[in-house]
Subunit: 220 residues, 2 copies
DNA sequence: GAGAATTATGTCAGTGCCTGCCAATTGGCC
DNA sequence: GGCCAATTGGCAGGCACTGACATAATTCTC
């Protein structure tokens, strides 16, 4: 095991006993961690507790996750990979912003399956709010998002046949888009309740405000 | 001392011997830390070394800064406060986006003075790149920026007489603006060399791409 | 199917960040 | 000088994380 592999890593999964066992251990670690985090909070949960709940040693935990943050953000990372894959599958004729918008809306369906294969959906929604309310986790999440944005920008540049070093538009577009997505997630989290459908709805509403917000006169 | 106070905290600084000594200790800690970080890298510098260089105990270090990240980002925090103050001093008639743009450009001048009162400008520029290249610092910086953005959004809402809970435009605008600012800083850092003037120039160039990047057809 | 090669896991010791606690020192004020 | 309040230092300890080595489990090879 060199690094954490995306959900769709290799074309044909080796799927020996070893691989399946590793996947099970990893999933168990994630589930144990998210449950403990939801119950006692992130900072009040020690890695030792997570390892014990998953019935492995602390050292093994750190062989699966580089740090405590990584296990907390594991499902978000999986969804990020799905989002990127969805964008790549968009028709080449589509303009950049509609492609991003379409990809984000198209991701929710697949995301549900990816998540529920590991943890209950309810627990994942709890984690969203946990991240927003835990400074250290929010910081780590924002950093991960900035890496996603970088890859999105490269993909947009590729689609448009541009050199991302020469033309700032891919990075600028993705930065603006990413900013709106974060604000959306945050606003959704603050609303307290609400499921994935509400988040989807809010996403549309906020993205539609991007044009008007940049307009000179808001009173028009 | 309850918390870190902005550069312009109280109307009349008490300025007793005690206060001056505290400020000197704090500035010395920042300078010592940034020098060590620039020389040996962030992770390879221990808090003990910083404290020793500033001739205080480790315990005292943690009375001035909540953690190691905070001292690394101290100057950026000061500039953030200046930026917010600059925005507040903008004419009320100005539209949101021009006000943000004007504030960011107007901040550079004052920033130079604020910085050089504590550390050499050159060292501060080094720190910018250090942050970009140190995962933990970048994460902390992004989180701090998201807090700044929240306050910016509230200020924009106030200027426009809007309820930020009801109208998403302040948050959406600031998120897009903040995203572009981060991309700008990043691009500037990757260019290797370049001073504050280059950053200012790049800021203008990137902000001007915001409209075009959101347009449907980039080939027009 | 037995042994060899590979890989995952456990144990242990150690470093560094950070905190609570209490004693000692220092500055402010009469 | 002498009292009060604030600052500081030292110490013990918890927790995140890492390197090194031994052990146990798979997979490979014949």
């Amino acid at each position: 095991m060199h690094a954490i592999e995306g959900a769709a890593a290799r074309p044909a999964a080796p799927s020996g006993l070893r691989e399946r066992k590793k996947r099970r251990t990893r999933d168990t670690l994630i589930r144990s961690a998210l449950e403990l985090f939801a119950r006692k909070g992130y900072e009040r949960t020690t890695v030792d507790e997570i390892a014990e709940a998953a019935e492995v040693s602390q050292r093994t935990f750190f062989r699966y996750f580089a740090n405590k943050e990584e296990v907390a953000l594991a499902m978000q990372t999986a969804v990020d990979a799905l989002f990127l894959a969805t964008l790549r599958s968009r028709p080449a004729a589509e303009a950049p912003l509609p492609a991003l918008r379409g990809a984000v809306l198209g991701t929710w369906d697949g995301a549900r399956a990816v998540i529920e294969a590991v943890v209950p959906l309810e627990l994942h929604l709890c984690t969203y709010r946990l991240i927003e309310s835990t400074p250290q986790l929010l910081a780590a999440r924002l950093r991960a998002l900035s890496e996603v944005e970088e890859r999105l920008a490269l993909e947009i540049a590729r689609r448009e046949g541009l050199d991302p070093r020469a033309d700032p538009r891919p990075h600028v577009l993705v930065a603006a888009f990413g900013g709106v997505m974060r604000v959306t997630t945050r606003a959704w989290g603050e609303r307290g309740e609400g499921g994935l459908d509400d988040l989807r709805e809010l996403t549309v509403a906020y993205l539609d405000q991007l044009g008007p917000a940049l307009a000179e006169n808001w009173r028009a």
